[in-house]
Amino acid sequence: MVILEIKNIDVYYGDLQVINNLSLSIEEGGITSIVGANGAGKSTLMNCILGAIKPKRGKINFNGQDITSQKTFEIVERGISLVPEGRGLFPFLTVEENLILGAISKHAKSKTRENLDRVYSLFPRLKERSKQRAGSLSGGEQQMCSIGRALIAEPKVILLDEPSLGLAPIMVKTVMDTIEQLAMNGYTIILVEQNVMTSLGISKKGYVLQEGRVVMEGSGAALLANDELRKSYLGV
Protein backbone atom coordinates (compact mmCIF):
# COMPACT_ATOMS: atom_id res chain seq x y z
CA MET A 1 0.00 0.00 0.00
CA VAL A 2 1.29 3.47 -0.90
CA ILE A 3 1.55 5.52 2.26
CA LEU A 4 3.11 8.70 0.87
CA GLU A 5 2.61 9.96 -2.62
CA ILE A 6 4.23 13.01 -4.15
CA LYS A 7 2.81 14.18 -7.44
CA ASN A 8 4.53 16.59 -9.81
CA ILE A 9 5.79 19.13 -7.31
CA ASP A 10 7.73 22.30 -8.16
CA VAL A 11 9.55 24.05 -5.31
CA TYR A 12 11.19 27.46 -5.40
CA TYR A 13 13.46 29.39 -3.09
CA GLY A 14 12.54 32.88 -4.08
CA ASP A 15 13.06 32.76 -7.81
CA LEU A 16 15.32 29.76 -7.79
CA GLN A 17 13.67 26.50 -8.68
CA VAL A 18 15.11 23.65 -6.65
CA ILE A 19 12.62 20.88 -7.35
CA ASN A 20 11.27 20.32 -10.80
CA ASN A 21 8.16 18.28 -11.50
CA LEU A 22 9.12 15.57 -9.04
CA SER A 23 6.99 12.55 -8.25
CA LEU A 24 7.58 9.77 -5.76
CA SER A 25 5.50 7.10 -4.20
CA ILE A 26 6.53 5.43 -1.00
CA GLU A 27 5.24 2.00 -0.05
CA GLU A 28 4.38 1.32 3.56
CA GLY A 29 7.14 -0.33 5.57
CA GLY A 30 10.81 -0.74 4.82
CA ILE A 31 13.46 1.77 3.88
CA THR A 32 13.35 4.00 0.83
CA SER A 33 16.58 5.78 -0.04
CA ILE A 34 16.89 9.11 -1.79
CA VAL A 35 20.37 9.77 -3.02
CA GLY A 36 21.98 12.50 -5.04
CA ALA A 37 24.72 15.06 -5.07
CA ASN A 38 24.87 18.17 -2.97
CA GLY A 39 22.20 20.63 -4.03
CA ALA A 40 20.11 18.01 -5.80
CA GLY A 41 17.13 19.06 -3.70
CA LYS A 42 17.04 16.20 -1.21
CA SER A 43 16.75 18.28 1.96
CA THR A 44 14.29 20.55 0.24
CA LEU A 45 12.16 17.55 -0.56
CA MET A 46 12.22 16.48 3.10
CA ASN A 47 11.20 19.92 4.28
CA CYS A 48 8.55 20.00 1.63
CA ILE A 49 6.98 16.73 2.74
CA LEU A 50 6.86 18.11 6.26
CA GLY A 51 5.18 21.31 5.10
CA ALA A 52 8.08 23.53 6.10
CA ILE A 53 8.34 24.66 2.50
CA LYS A 54 5.31 24.80 0.28
CA PRO A 55 5.49 23.56 -3.31
CA LYS A 56 4.38 26.03 -5.93
CA ARG A 57 2.65 23.30 -7.87
CA GLY A 58 1.84 19.67 -7.29
CA LYS A 59 0.37 17.58 -4.54
CA ILE A 60 1.43 15.52 -1.58
CA ASN A 61 -0.84 12.76 -0.29
CA PHE A 62 -0.35 10.90 2.95
CA ASN A 63 -2.48 7.88 3.76
CA GLY A 64 -4.72 8.88 0.89
CA GLN A 65 -5.30 12.39 2.22
CA ASP A 66 -4.05 15.61 0.69
CA ILE A 67 -1.57 17.24 3.05
CA THR A 68 -0.07 19.72 0.60
CA SER A 69 -1.49 22.80 2.24
CA GLN A 70 -1.33 21.59 5.83
CA LYS A 71 0.93 23.13 8.38
CA THR A 72 3.90 21.30 9.83
CA PHE A 73 2.30 20.60 13.18
CA GLU A 74 -0.72 19.06 11.47
CA ILE A 75 1.51 16.87 9.36
CA VAL A 76 3.48 15.80 12.42
CA GLU A 77 0.18 15.03 14.09
CA ARG A 78 -0.80 12.79 11.19
CA GLY A 79 2.34 10.73 11.68
CA ILE A 80 5.35 12.02 9.74
CA SER A 81 8.50 12.90 11.67
CA LEU A 82 11.76 14.35 10.43
CA VAL A 83 15.21 13.77 11.82
CA PRO A 84 16.78 16.84 10.31
CA GLU A 85 20.21 17.31 8.88
CA GLY A 86 22.61 18.32 11.67
CA ARG A 87 20.28 16.69 14.25
CA GLY A 88 18.39 19.90 15.03
CA LEU A 89 18.55 19.46 18.78
CA PHE A 90 17.98 22.22 21.31
CA PRO A 91 21.49 22.39 22.73
CA PHE A 92 20.66 24.06 26.04
CA LEU A 93 17.75 21.84 26.93
CA THR A 94 18.42 18.51 28.62
CA VAL A 95 18.22 15.28 26.68
CA GLU A 96 14.97 14.43 28.39
CA GLU A 97 13.45 17.84 27.68
CA ASN A 98 14.44 17.44 24.05
CA LEU A 99 12.80 14.06 23.88
CA ILE A 100 9.59 15.06 25.62
CA LEU A 101 9.17 18.07 23.34
CA GLY A 102 8.96 15.56 20.51
CA ALA A 103 5.67 14.30 21.93
CA ILE A 104 3.79 17.34 20.83
CA SER A 105 0.94 15.74 18.95
CA LYS A 106 -2.31 14.95 20.73
CA HIS A 107 -2.12 11.19 20.51
CA ALA A 108 1.53 11.08 21.52
CA LYS A 109 1.12 13.39 24.49
CA SER A 110 -0.86 10.92 26.57
CA LYS A 111 1.73 8.22 26.02
CA THR A 112 4.81 10.35 26.60
CA ARG A 113 6.09 8.37 29.59
CA GLU A 114 5.66 5.04 27.90
CA ASN A 115 7.31 6.20 24.68
CA LEU A 116 10.12 7.79 26.62
CA ASP A 117 10.86 4.48 28.25
CA ARG A 118 10.82 2.81 24.85
CA VAL A 119 13.35 5.29 23.53
CA TYR A 120 15.50 4.78 26.60
CA SER A 121 15.41 1.03 26.13
CA LEU A 122 16.31 1.48 22.48
CA PHE A 123 19.15 3.92 23.37
CA PRO A 124 20.30 3.15 26.94
CA ARG A 125 23.02 5.76 26.47
CA LEU A 126 20.38 8.48 26.41
CA LYS A 127 18.97 7.35 29.71
CA GLU A 128 22.36 7.72 31.34
CA ARG A 129 22.60 11.25 30.04
CA SER A 130 18.99 12.25 30.37
CA LYS A 131 19.76 15.23 32.63
CA GLN A 132 22.66 16.49 30.54
CA ARG A 133 22.37 19.33 28.08
CA ALA A 134 21.90 17.96 24.58
CA GLY A 135 24.69 20.19 23.31
CA SER A 136 27.19 18.34 25.48
CA LEU A 137 26.57 14.95 23.85
CA SER A 138 28.84 13.38 21.27
CA GLY A 139 27.76 13.40 17.64
CA GLY A 140 26.48 9.84 17.72
CA GLU A 141 24.56 10.41 20.94
CA GLN A 142 23.04 13.53 19.48
CA GLN A 143 21.90 11.53 16.47
CA MET A 144 20.28 9.00 18.78
CA CYS A 145 18.60 11.77 20.68
CA SER A 146 17.28 13.25 17.46
CA ILE A 147 15.96 9.88 16.31
CA GLY A 148 14.48 9.32 19.75
CA ARG A 149 12.72 12.65 19.58
CA ALA A 150 11.22 11.68 16.23
CA LEU A 151 10.07 8.31 17.59
CA ILE A 152 8.36 9.80 20.57
CA ALA A 153 5.92 11.60 18.28
CA GLU A 154 4.56 8.16 17.32
CA PRO A 155 5.12 8.54 13.60
CA LYS A 156 4.20 6.14 10.85
CA VAL A 157 6.80 7.57 8.52
CA ILE A 158 10.24 8.75 9.62
CA LEU A 159 12.29 10.99 7.36
CA LEU A 160 16.02 10.88 8.05
CA ASP A 161 18.14 13.62 6.52
CA GLU A 162 21.82 12.67 6.35
CA PRO A 163 21.92 10.80 9.65
CA SER A 164 25.49 9.64 9.13
CA LEU A 165 26.93 13.04 8.30
CA GLY A 166 29.94 13.89 10.43
CA LEU A 167 29.91 10.68 12.43
CA ALA A 168 32.81 8.35 13.10
CA PRO A 169 32.65 5.17 10.95
CA ILE A 170 31.79 3.03 13.93
CA MET A 171 28.92 5.34 14.81
CA VAL A 172 27.73 5.28 11.21
CA LYS A 173 27.31 1.58 11.50
CA THR A 174 25.42 1.86 14.78
CA VAL A 175 23.08 4.44 13.31
CA MET A 176 22.45 2.37 10.19
CA ASP A 177 21.75 -0.70 12.32
CA THR A 178 19.28 1.31 14.32
CA ILE A 179 17.54 2.45 11.17
CA GLU A 180 17.25 -1.11 9.92
CA GLN A 181 15.89 -2.14 13.26
CA LEU A 182 13.28 0.63 13.12
CA ALA A 183 12.23 -0.56 9.69
CA MET A 184 11.82 -4.04 11.05
CA ASN A 185 9.65 -2.66 13.83
CA GLY A 186 7.23 -1.50 11.16
CA TYR A 187 8.15 2.14 10.62
CA THR A 188 8.26 3.42 7.07
CA ILE A 189 11.66 5.04 6.62
CA ILE A 190 12.73 7.57 4.04
CA LEU A 191 16.47 7.91 4.14
CA VAL A 192 18.39 10.72 2.53
CA GLU A 193 22.07 9.94 2.30
CA GLN A 194 25.24 10.87 0.53
CA ASN A 195 26.61 7.59 1.72
CA VAL A 196 25.06 5.91 -1.29
CA MET A 197 26.54 2.46 -0.81
CA THR A 198 25.39 1.94 2.73
CA SER A 199 21.97 3.41 2.30
CA LEU A 200 21.06 1.65 -0.91
CA GLY A 201 22.38 -1.54 0.63
CA ILE A 202 19.67 -1.54 3.29
CA SER A 203 16.88 -0.09 1.13
CA LYS A 204 14.13 -1.88 -0.62
CA LYS A 205 13.78 1.01 -3.03
CA GLY A 206 15.86 3.97 -4.08
CA TYR A 207 15.51 7.22 -6.01
CA VAL A 208 18.33 9.22 -7.53
CA LEU A 209 17.85 12.97 -7.61
CA GLN A 210 19.67 15.38 -9.83
CA GLU A 211 18.95 19.10 -10.11
CA GLY A 212 15.56 18.66 -8.55
CA ARG A 213 14.41 15.80 -10.75
CA VAL A 214 14.23 12.06 -10.30
CA VAL A 215 16.70 10.68 -12.79
CA MET A 216 16.63 7.08 -11.73
CA GLU A 217 14.58 4.79 -9.54
CA GLY A 218 14.51 1.14 -8.71
CA SER A 219 15.13 -1.38 -5.99
CA GLY A 220 18.16 -0.76 -3.83
CA ALA A 221 20.03 -3.69 -5.21
CA ALA A 222 19.23 -2.81 -8.81
CA LEU A 223 20.46 0.74 -8.36
CA LEU A 224 23.63 -0.45 -6.71
CA ALA A 225 24.24 -2.63 -9.72
CA ASN A 226 23.66 0.22 -12.16
CA ASP A 227 26.86 1.19 -13.91
CA GLU A 228 25.99 4.78 -14.53
CA LEU A 229 25.20 5.35 -10.90
CA ARG A 230 28.31 3.61 -9.74
CA LYS A 231 30.33 5.79 -12.06
CA SER A 232 28.86 9.08 -11.02
CA TYR A 233 28.39 8.52 -7.29
CA LEU A 234 30.81 5.90 -6.25
CA GLY A 235 33.64 6.88 -8.52
CA VAL A 236 34.00 3.24 -9.57
Binding site: E77, L101, G102
Partner: protein, 288 residues
Protein backbone atom coordinates in the same frame (compact mmCIF):
# COMPACT_ATOMS: atom_id res chain seq x y z
CA UNK B 1 28.85 54.58 51.48
CA UNK B 2 26.50 51.95 52.88
CA UNK B 3 23.65 54.12 51.74
CA UNK B 4 25.11 54.22 48.24
CA UNK B 5 25.35 50.46 48.09
CA UNK B 6 21.74 50.17 49.22
CA UNK B 7 20.73 52.68 46.55
CA UNK B 8 22.67 50.67 44.00
CA UNK B 9 20.96 47.43 44.92
CA UNK B 10 17.54 49.04 44.87
CA UNK B 11 18.32 50.61 41.50
CA UNK B 12 19.48 47.19 40.38
CA UNK B 13 16.04 45.88 41.26
CA UNK B 14 14.51 48.52 39.00
CA UNK B 15 16.83 47.70 36.10
CA UNK B 16 16.22 44.00 36.57
CA UNK B 17 12.46 44.26 36.58
CA UNK B 18 12.31 46.39 33.44
CA UNK B 19 14.58 43.87 31.70
CA UNK B 20 12.65 40.63 32.19
CA UNK B 21 10.23 41.53 29.43
CA UNK B 22 13.09 42.24 27.08
CA UNK B 23 14.79 38.98 28.06
CA UNK B 24 11.74 37.13 26.79
CA UNK B 25 11.22 39.28 23.70
CA UNK B 26 14.81 39.87 22.60
CA UNK B 27 16.00 36.53 23.94
CA UNK B 28 13.39 34.47 22.10
CA UNK B 29 12.30 36.44 19.06
CA UNK B 30 15.70 38.07 18.62
CA UNK B 31 14.28 41.35 17.49
CA UNK B 32 15.84 44.55 18.78
CA UNK B 33 12.65 45.84 20.31
CA UNK B 34 12.96 49.61 20.34
CA UNK B 35 9.38 49.82 21.57
CA UNK B 36 10.38 48.29 24.90
CA UNK B 37 10.55 51.62 26.71
CA UNK B 38 7.33 52.91 25.23
CA UNK B 39 5.53 49.74 26.30
CA UNK B 40 6.75 50.48 29.81
CA UNK B 41 5.45 54.02 29.46
CA UNK B 42 2.07 52.79 28.23
CA UNK B 43 1.90 50.43 31.20
CA UNK B 44 2.72 53.25 33.59
CA UNK B 45 -0.02 55.45 32.18
CA UNK B 46 -2.48 52.55 32.40
CA UNK B 47 -1.55 51.97 36.03
CA UNK B 48 -1.74 55.67 36.85
CA UNK B 49 -5.10 56.34 35.21
CA UNK B 50 -6.69 53.18 36.56
CA UNK B 51 -5.44 53.77 40.07
CA UNK B 52 -6.64 57.38 40.01
CA UNK B 53 -9.90 56.53 38.31
CA UNK B 54 -10.85 53.67 40.63
CA UNK B 55 -9.20 55.24 43.63
CA UNK B 56 -7.53 51.97 44.52
CA UNK B 57 -4.01 51.09 45.59
CA UNK B 58 -1.56 51.17 42.74
CA UNK B 59 -0.23 47.67 43.39
CA UNK B 60 -3.72 46.23 42.97
CA UNK B 61 -3.68 47.60 39.43
CA UNK B 62 -1.38 44.75 38.48
CA UNK B 63 -4.49 42.61 38.21
CA UNK B 64 -5.70 44.78 35.34
CA UNK B 65 -2.54 46.21 33.82
CA UNK B 66 -0.74 42.88 33.40
CA UNK B 67 -3.52 41.19 31.38
CA UNK B 68 -4.00 44.34 29.31
CA UNK B 69 -0.31 44.50 28.54
CA UNK B 70 -0.31 40.80 27.68
CA UNK B 71 -3.07 41.45 25.16
CA UNK B 72 -1.23 44.46 23.76
CA UNK B 73 1.89 42.35 23.29
CA UNK B 74 -0.07 39.57 21.62
CA UNK B 75 -1.66 42.06 19.23
CA UNK B 76 1.68 43.59 18.33
CA UNK B 77 3.27 40.24 17.56
CA UNK B 78 0.25 38.74 15.86
CA UNK B 79 -0.77 41.62 13.63
CA UNK B 80 2.49 43.46 13.09
CA UNK B 81 5.71 41.59 13.76
CA UNK B 82 4.59 38.17 12.54
CA UNK B 83 3.73 39.78 9.20
CA UNK B 84 7.42 40.43 8.75
CA UNK B 85 8.67 37.37 10.59
CA UNK B 86 11.26 36.55 7.94
CA UNK B 87 12.55 40.09 7.68
CA UNK B 88 14.48 40.98 10.82
CA UNK B 89 15.25 44.42 9.38
CA UNK B 90 11.60 45.24 8.99
CA UNK B 91 10.82 43.89 12.46
CA UNK B 92 13.27 46.38 13.85
CA UNK B 93 11.75 49.06 11.67
CA UNK B 94 8.28 48.26 12.93
CA UNK B 95 9.37 48.40 16.56
CA UNK B 96 10.88 51.81 15.92
CA UNK B 97 7.60 52.89 14.33
CA UNK B 98 5.78 51.64 17.42
CA UNK B 99 8.14 53.58 19.65
CA UNK B 100 7.25 56.78 17.82
CA UNK B 101 3.58 55.85 17.68
CA UNK B 102 3.10 55.06 21.37
CA UNK B 103 5.07 58.06 22.55
CA UNK B 104 3.26 60.48 20.35
CA UNK B 105 -0.21 59.08 20.83
CA UNK B 106 0.31 59.56 24.54
CA UNK B 107 1.73 62.98 23.82
CA UNK B 108 -1.35 63.91 21.83
CA UNK B 109 -3.58 62.61 24.60
CA UNK B 110 -1.78 64.19 27.55
CA UNK B 111 -0.19 67.16 25.78
CA UNK B 112 3.03 66.10 27.42
CA UNK B 113 1.95 66.84 30.96
CA UNK B 114 3.63 65.17 33.91
CA UNK B 115 1.83 62.83 36.27
CA UNK B 116 2.94 61.51 39.62
CA UNK B 117 1.45 59.35 42.28
CA UNK B 118 2.48 60.70 45.64
CA UNK B 119 2.58 57.56 47.71
CA UNK B 120 5.10 58.61 50.37
CA UNK B 121 4.98 55.20 51.97
CA UNK B 122 7.68 56.16 54.38
CA UNK B 123 11.08 54.68 55.01
CA UNK B 124 12.64 51.87 57.00
CA UNK B 125 15.65 52.87 59.06
CA UNK B 126 18.31 50.22 59.56
CA UNK B 127 20.86 51.70 61.89
CA UNK B 128 22.16 54.78 60.17
CA UNK B 129 20.92 53.58 56.78
CA UNK B 130 17.52 54.10 55.22
CA UNK B 131 15.46 51.98 52.83
CA UNK B 132 12.36 53.23 51.07
CA UNK B 133 9.27 51.10 50.68
CA UNK B 134 8.61 51.72 46.99
CA UNK B 135 12.00 50.50 45.83
CA UNK B 136 12.09 47.70 48.40
CA UNK B 137 8.76 46.34 47.20
CA UNK B 138 10.13 46.56 43.68
CA UNK B 139 13.27 44.65 44.63
CA UNK B 140 11.32 41.88 46.32
CA UNK B 141 9.02 41.69 43.32
CA UNK B 142 12.03 41.49 41.00
CA UNK B 143 13.38 38.51 42.90
CA UNK B 144 9.99 36.78 43.13
CA UNK B 145 9.27 37.36 39.46
CA UNK B 146 12.68 35.97 38.53
CA UNK B 147 11.93 32.79 40.49
CA UNK B 148 8.50 32.44 38.92
CA UNK B 149 9.84 32.96 35.41
CA UNK B 150 12.63 30.51 36.06
CA UNK B 151 10.16 27.89 37.27
CA UNK B 152 7.98 28.55 34.26
CA UNK B 153 10.79 28.31 31.72
CA UNK B 154 12.55 25.31 33.26
CA UNK B 155 9.70 23.21 34.60
CA UNK B 156 6.78 23.53 32.23
CA UNK B 157 6.47 22.16 28.73
CA UNK B 158 5.50 25.57 27.37
CA UNK B 159 8.62 26.94 29.01
CA UNK B 160 10.71 24.27 27.30
CA UNK B 161 9.02 25.03 24.03
CA UNK B 162 9.79 28.74 24.35
CA UNK B 163 13.41 27.96 25.11
CA UNK B 164 13.49 25.45 22.27
CA UNK B 165 12.25 28.05 19.79
CA UNK B 166 14.87 30.50 20.94
CA UNK B 167 17.63 27.92 20.48
CA UNK B 168 16.66 26.44 17.17
CA UNK B 169 13.68 27.90 15.41
CA UNK B 170 13.87 25.53 12.47
CA UNK B 171 14.05 22.38 14.55
CA UNK B 172 11.25 23.62 16.76
CA UNK B 173 9.10 24.00 13.67
CA UNK B 174 9.81 20.59 12.21
CA UNK B 175 9.03 18.71 15.41
CA UNK B 176 5.62 20.32 15.33
CA UNK B 177 5.95 23.25 17.71
CA UNK B 178 3.89 26.17 16.49
CA UNK B 179 6.60 28.75 16.20
CA UNK B 180 4.40 31.73 15.40
CA UNK B 181 2.17 31.00 18.36
CA UNK B 182 5.14 30.65 20.64
CA UNK B 183 6.46 33.97 19.41
CA UNK B 184 3.09 35.55 20.12
CA UNK B 185 3.11 33.99 23.56
CA UNK B 186 6.67 35.15 24.21
CA UNK B 187 5.84 38.70 23.20
CA UNK B 188 2.68 38.62 25.26
CA UNK B 189 4.50 37.31 28.33
CA UNK B 190 7.29 39.81 27.77
CA UNK B 191 4.77 42.63 27.64
CA UNK B 192 3.05 41.29 30.75
CA UNK B 193 6.40 41.44 32.55
CA UNK B 194 6.78 45.01 31.35
CA UNK B 195 3.31 45.62 32.78
CA UNK B 196 4.43 44.36 36.19
CA UNK B 197 7.47 46.62 36.02
CA UNK B 198 5.27 49.55 34.99
CA UNK B 199 3.00 49.18 38.00
CA UNK B 200 5.97 48.93 40.36
CA UNK B 201 7.70 51.97 38.89
CA UNK B 202 4.64 54.22 38.80
CA UNK B 203 5.01 55.36 42.44
CA UNK B 204 8.74 55.97 41.92
CA UNK B 205 8.91 58.00 38.74
CA UNK B 206 7.15 60.95 37.18
CA UNK B 207 5.16 59.72 34.21
CA UNK B 208 5.28 61.45 30.85
CA UNK B 209 5.33 60.21 27.27
CA UNK B 210 9.11 59.93 27.09
CA UNK B 211 9.66 58.31 30.47
CA UNK B 212 10.42 54.88 29.00
CA UNK B 213 13.10 56.08 26.65
CA UNK B 214 15.81 56.08 29.28
CA UNK B 215 15.22 52.44 30.12
CA UNK B 216 15.76 51.08 26.62
CA UNK B 217 19.53 51.09 26.41
CA UNK B 218 20.02 49.95 29.98
CA UNK B 219 17.58 47.08 29.43
CA UNK B 220 19.51 45.82 26.44
CA UNK B 221 22.70 46.09 28.44
CA UNK B 222 21.20 44.14 31.34
CA UNK B 223 19.89 41.40 29.08
CA UNK B 224 23.18 40.90 27.27
CA UNK B 225 25.36 41.36 30.34
CA UNK B 226 23.43 38.68 32.19
CA UNK B 227 23.30 36.34 29.24
CA UNK B 228 20.71 36.35 26.49
CA UNK B 229 17.54 34.62 27.61
CA UNK B 230 18.79 34.02 31.15
CA UNK B 231 16.40 35.24 33.86
CA UNK B 232 18.86 34.92 36.77
CA UNK B 233 21.32 36.65 34.46
CA UNK B 234 18.95 39.57 34.03
CA UNK B 235 18.54 39.86 37.78
CA UNK B 236 22.29 39.76 38.34
CA UNK B 237 22.95 42.03 35.36
CA UNK B 238 20.49 44.57 36.74
CA UNK B 239 22.17 44.46 40.14
CA UNK B 240 25.64 44.90 38.65
CA UNK B 241 24.63 47.85 36.51
CA UNK B 242 22.62 49.41 39.34
CA UNK B 243 25.52 49.14 41.77
CA UNK B 244 28.07 50.38 39.25
CA UNK B 245 25.91 53.35 38.31
CA UNK B 246 25.33 54.26 41.92
CA UNK B 247 28.94 53.82 42.97
CA UNK B 248 30.52 55.58 40.02
CA UNK B 249 28.04 58.43 40.35
CA UNK B 250 29.13 58.80 43.95
CA UNK B 251 32.84 58.12 43.62
CA UNK B 252 33.62 59.63 40.20
CA UNK B 253 30.95 62.17 39.23
CA UNK B 254 27.19 62.03 38.80
CA UNK B 255 27.58 63.13 35.16
CA UNK B 256 29.71 60.08 34.52
CA UNK B 257 27.55 57.64 36.44
CA UNK B 258 27.00 55.42 33.42
CA UNK B 259 30.48 55.36 32.02
CA UNK B 260 31.80 52.49 34.13
CA UNK B 261 28.99 50.15 33.27
CA UNK B 262 29.20 51.12 29.61
CA UNK B 263 32.82 50.02 29.70
CA UNK B 264 32.13 46.86 31.67
CA UNK B 265 29.33 46.01 29.29
CA UNK B 266 31.57 46.43 26.27
CA UNK B 267 34.33 44.36 27.89
CA UNK B 268 31.90 41.55 28.63
CA UNK B 269 30.50 41.76 25.13
CA UNK B 270 33.96 41.51 23.60
CA UNK B 271 35.39 38.80 25.78
CA UNK B 272 32.38 36.80 26.86
CA UNK B 273 29.51 37.51 24.47
CA UNK B 274 27.44 34.80 26.14
CA UNK B 275 27.16 37.19 29.07
CA UNK B 276 28.23 36.67 32.64
CA UNK B 277 25.60 34.03 33.36
CA UNK B 278 24.85 32.62 29.93
CA UNK B 279 26.30 29.32 28.78
CA UNK B 280 29.14 29.88 26.34
CA UNK B 281 27.80 29.67 22.83
CA UNK B 282 24.22 30.41 23.83
CA UNK B 283 24.41 33.85 22.22
CA UNK B 284 24.87 32.33 18.80
CA UNK B 285 21.55 30.53 18.68
CA UNK B 286 19.36 32.34 16.23
CA UNK B 287 21.76 35.22 15.75
CA UNK B 288 23.04 35.47 12.22
Amino acid sequence: MGQIIISGILLGGIYAIVSYGLTLIFGVIRVINFAHGSLLMVGMFMAYYLSKGMNLNIYLMMLIVVPLMFILGVLIQKYLLSKVINEPDMQLFVTFGLLLLFENVMLAVTKGEFFSLDMNMGTIPIGSLVLDWGRLINLVAAIVLAILLLLFLNHTKIGWAIRAVSQNRYAAGIIGLRVERLYILAFGLGSACIGIAAVLLTPIYTIFPHVGFNFVIVSFAVVILGGLGSIPGALAGGMIIGLLESLSGYLIAPELNQIVWYLLFLLVLFFRPAGLFGIAGSEEGGVK
